[in-house]
Symmetry: C2
Subunit: 218 residues, 2 copies
């Protein structure tokens, strides 16, 4: 990694980097040792120039005509995304989405380690999901401090999301990954990232509906 | 709905509409009957002009100074997104993510009805998850046709994703919602929407890492 990394990188670039990583991991599975921007761009509907520009922010250095060493590039992207170290996280809401995230094995590849889950349902408290303990909400404040937890994952229903986020912020959580379909207010300085499935679904169902309309008219 | 709806709407607009819907549902829970663009915009970091422009595509009609009737606006947005009718979908990959989606109760609000799941693991086939049957892959072709299924949801590991998508396309699936962290190739005319958690996670962990770096340096 070079030292001239810009502090603020566009959201679009940040969201493309994991895609490159997936392509590179695919190439690694195939035993490919080097990759060019053109090779990576071949999987997307934007060109190699975009790929080159995006990769620059990671400080990765390629060689003319040969390209990037795949293993080095994977390392540089992971470092840039903060995926080389595990970030410990707490999850609140041990419903279906919460359970899925607790059981999602690939998160360790992406620097995320969900260490425990919290729920307000006494029937869930004390049980284990994928070997992770479900704890009562009252224990969160103490544990966030003791275990230096920075990330809070919200998987409660929409109407409880703001309440959970308020608690998270008050106990010292610095970054919130929200899966609840609800608008959230957070104080300045706290990072909020929404992983809203409904937004992705909206694009899909709208396009599908538009295609049907076209077929009906055509 | 008016008849002057543009056929192609930007992806950004499409992704903001569900957010407005979440705000409106929140207002409905609070018993609010009318909502203005300013009121909706108050929950976001963009202004009422953006909200007004986005809402225009749905054909929703507001009244000056009073705003939109919340129930009518909810209906117009849902219609525009294709969420007023249920779209039947098949899911392939009954692992943790697959299970979560099968159990996610809110999908019916968003026009998605996952009717069955498929898996190649003989131990899973024949079992039920949230009352939905897990079927063998060989049955998909026949059932897609018989049940007029248009949407395929991919929740298999990255290395199997392209194979599953190829099967889906060959049996007549028209729109694919992909949860696998893998680059996918699809023929023209097929809709592909990626719901990649890793992209959202990348933004979160990068910002958190950057904040730490700043603290260390400052």
């Amino acid at each position: 990694m070079t030292s001239q990394i810009p502090t603020v990188v566009s959201r679009s670039t940040l969201k493309r980097l994991p895609l490159y990583l997936h392509v590179l991991e695919d190439l690694q599975r195939q035993g490919q040792e080097y990759a060019s921007c053109t090779m990576i761009a071949g999987k997307f509907d934007f060109g190699p120039t975009q790929v080159r520009k995006d990769l620059e922010v990671t400080g990765a250095e390629g060689t003319a005509k040969i390209g990037f060493k795949v293993s080095a590039l994977v390392k540089d992207i992971k470092e840039f995304l903060g995926w080389h170290n595990a970030h410990d996280a707490f999850l609140v809401g041990a419903g279906n989405m919460g359970k899925a995230l607790l059981g999602y094995k690939d998160f360790d590849k992406y620097g995320l380690n969900i260490v425990a889950a919290f729920d307000q349902d006494p029937k869930k408290v004390g049980t284990k999901i994928f070997n992770k303990e479900i704890l009562p909400m009252e224990k969160m404040a103490n544990l966030v401090k003791r275990m230096h937890i920075n990330i809070g994952i919200v998987t409660v229903p929409a109407e409880f999301a703001q309440g959970v986020v308020d608690i998270m912020v008050s106990v010292g959580i610095k970054a919130i990954w929200n899966f609840a379909p609800a608008p959230l207010q957070i104080p300045e300085g706290i990072i909020l990232e929404n992983a809203r499935l409904t937004q992705s679904l909206a694009v899909l169902t709208n396009k599908l509906t538009m295609n049907f309309d076209k077929e009906m008219k055509g």
